[in-house]
Symmetry: C2
Amino acid sequence: MDKILIKNVTILTMNKNKEIIENGVVVIVGKEIIDIGDSSLESKYKDFFIIDGNGGILMPGMVNCHSHVSMVPFRSLADDEADRLKKYIFPLEKKLVDKDLVYNGARYGICEMLLSGVTTFCDMYYYEDEVARAASRLGIRAIVGETIVDFPSPDSTEPYGGLEYCKEFIEKWHKDELVTPAIAPHAPYTNDSEHLIEAHMLSQKYNVPLIMHVAEMDYEYKKYKEEYNMTPVEYLDSLGILDKNFIAAHLVLVNDKDLDILQKREVGVSHNVGANSKGAKGVAPVVKMYERGMKVGLGTDGPMSGNTLDIITQMPLVGKVQKLFNKDRTLLPSKNIVEMATIGGARTLNMEHLIGSIEVGKRADLVILETESVNMQPIYDYYSTIVYSANPSNVDTVIVDGRIIVRSKKILRIDFNDIKRNLLNMKDKILCMIKEI
Amino acid sequence: MDKILIKNVTILTMNKNKEIIENGVVVIVGKEIIDIGDSSLESKYKDFFIIDGNGGILMPGMVNCHSHVSMVPFRSLADDEADRLKKYIFPLEKKLVDKDLVYNGARYGICEMLLSGVTTFCDMYYYEDEVARAASRLGIRAIVGETIVDFPSPDSTEPYGGLEYCKEFIEKWHKDELVTPAIAPHAPYTNDSEHLIEAHMLSQKYNVPLIMHVAEMDYEYKKYKEEYNMTPVEYLDSLGILDKNFIAAHLVLVNDKDLDILQKREVGVSHNVGANSKGAKGVAPVVKMYERGMKVGLGTDGPMSGNTLDIITQMPLVGKVQKLFNKDRTLLPSKNIVEMATIGGARTLNMEHLIGSIEVGKRADLVILETESVNMQPIYDYYSTIVYSANPSNVDTVIVDGRIIVRSKKILRIDFNDIKRNLLNMKDKILCMIKEI
């Protein structure tokens, strides 16, 4: 069992009182944090492997609540195109997405997340067994949701084939400690009500998350208004499928009544501001969500939407977009944004008993940000520094479930060059295919 | 005279045709680019110092069109406060800003800019002679504007003391090759019309830039509406002070008629989206400005407003905010944003004959972005990769005026630790002062 003592760090606990411990020490045995305190703790623990944080900031591992990590081979493709989804994404996925692309894309994307301090991610794609395998091997915590859609998909010749896939997939993974299987109906408008209800029943049976894009698209909003005189949220609620296991991505087009429903049903929210702004989708009312005490975390969306998979570059955007749209520079102080990136994300994924804050008894999912780089000084407010100055390269050390995965900005025990070679091979294949589209 | 040959890079020339040269070579003699081409060029030049770009991206050095670089000692202070300017900035400046703070703050901020690929910046502050000195010593290209305000300032016991300061200051620097002195009336509302006209005459006399915050504040807009029934831009034009030497920062609250005026007068624009969004100031109509062919560059504003001083993190925001506000994901393709960060900025500062693109005869202000880091692959579109994936830490090599200043992400020939120690000392002093405010 690994025994690790981290010292010479400022600890942002992100616990209930948002305690900050200067010159702090965190003690880990196995997967768990067993002690937290000031530097006087150090002498109490002998024969521990010491990590000297060199005056850096120790924060909980960040949580990426919404991603399609295996889409990383498509990153930087068609970024400014009008109908990217139907013109590029769907045709490319149909032609190219296979187990190999999903596995190797996931490996690359997971490396990116780990190197940038994401210790838990929630994914939605095809062949999610491959994402699960990659996550398990690389040692990141994950919720992996198999997509269900009303058309034949890369991993199914039949519409709704994902439901069949899910059954075996959930059986295989649902007792795993790091990887949680999930069911991911793509969106209300790509599933009929019967299959949404079936997906929900499956989620209840295994007590696993149900992940869905909700209230993201103008045409989605219009469809439910016209057909049912309901909002997308009202429609989903009318099917009885909103509950604590439901993780809703985006929620851009929601009104106060929708928020009442979402809060009552304890739905978890992934706020994906990077993708929503780049895609001109609109501004989710995340201040209202936060102020109500809803479960709000941050997500990157897929790398064809949000490009990078780190949470650090989401944080400044969360604040800036809300301040700008609501014409109030005091909205969402940095502390609240770091909250969303950590314990808020844990709540969204119903994992707050395990992760999201630095507390005794919780899993050791931890990140050290170095404060040596030029952008990281001076520090008057640790939260402001993280939100408005830090970038992914300031992540020095990452620990997941008590295992040191990144140290001195390098991923350990993994041949990243092999993973990169694989990605570049996929790129060449994609370049050939694009010519045929 | 230094003779440098850069090879093994993809060159984004940012010239008129936006040529991209794969596996390119750039040849530098002294301050100047003397040849550009593909790898076949290499054999033509013997005895040159070789920089192997390792497959990276060679782009023009970035231009930061608006900053208050010496405010870096205050970074992360009072970020989410309502009236930060009058409650924190002005009192702190009054108590703390002296030659030493300006010089040492500038040294630190210039290091941050150089390390992130900014090779030219345009500054506005007090004791600008100190900023000029720091820029000159560290080898960055700069326009340094001494502030003029209608109240006693850190470097003057009298209102408008900056005008006196300017005379000597301009004489001292206006023949320097790297540093251009400038006159910087703080804003329309902090100067009376007589002194604005006097400042403009001084700018004409020496043919130096006149820098001003314009149409940034709600109360500014209101004042000119009420007092003159004019917009701030109309008011400035009525004084006859808008011309080619005028560099206007912000321009958030401008209408189409204002844009007509600004275009006709050939005013240069610094678009500061990071500071404008974090400060909830509003959205400048930068798409319209760009489409009209106005001179538009990007600026960070001071580190109490925009926090970091790099241009790389401004770029994604420029695109995202415009796409979001105008509900159109196709607006401002990445190429246009990279244009603003380079040749656009050069045009804003009337330096396009010298810098902003990689062309024979121009000064060698160049940046190599490495493409080894996890966030930088795959690349289908170099501009998209720079705008939506890169971060400041991807800057590997920086050359200014033919001198290699940054190599392998480290600043050369400068004791950065000494500069940092100095910054941390200032921070301690500031922390003591804050208690008194």
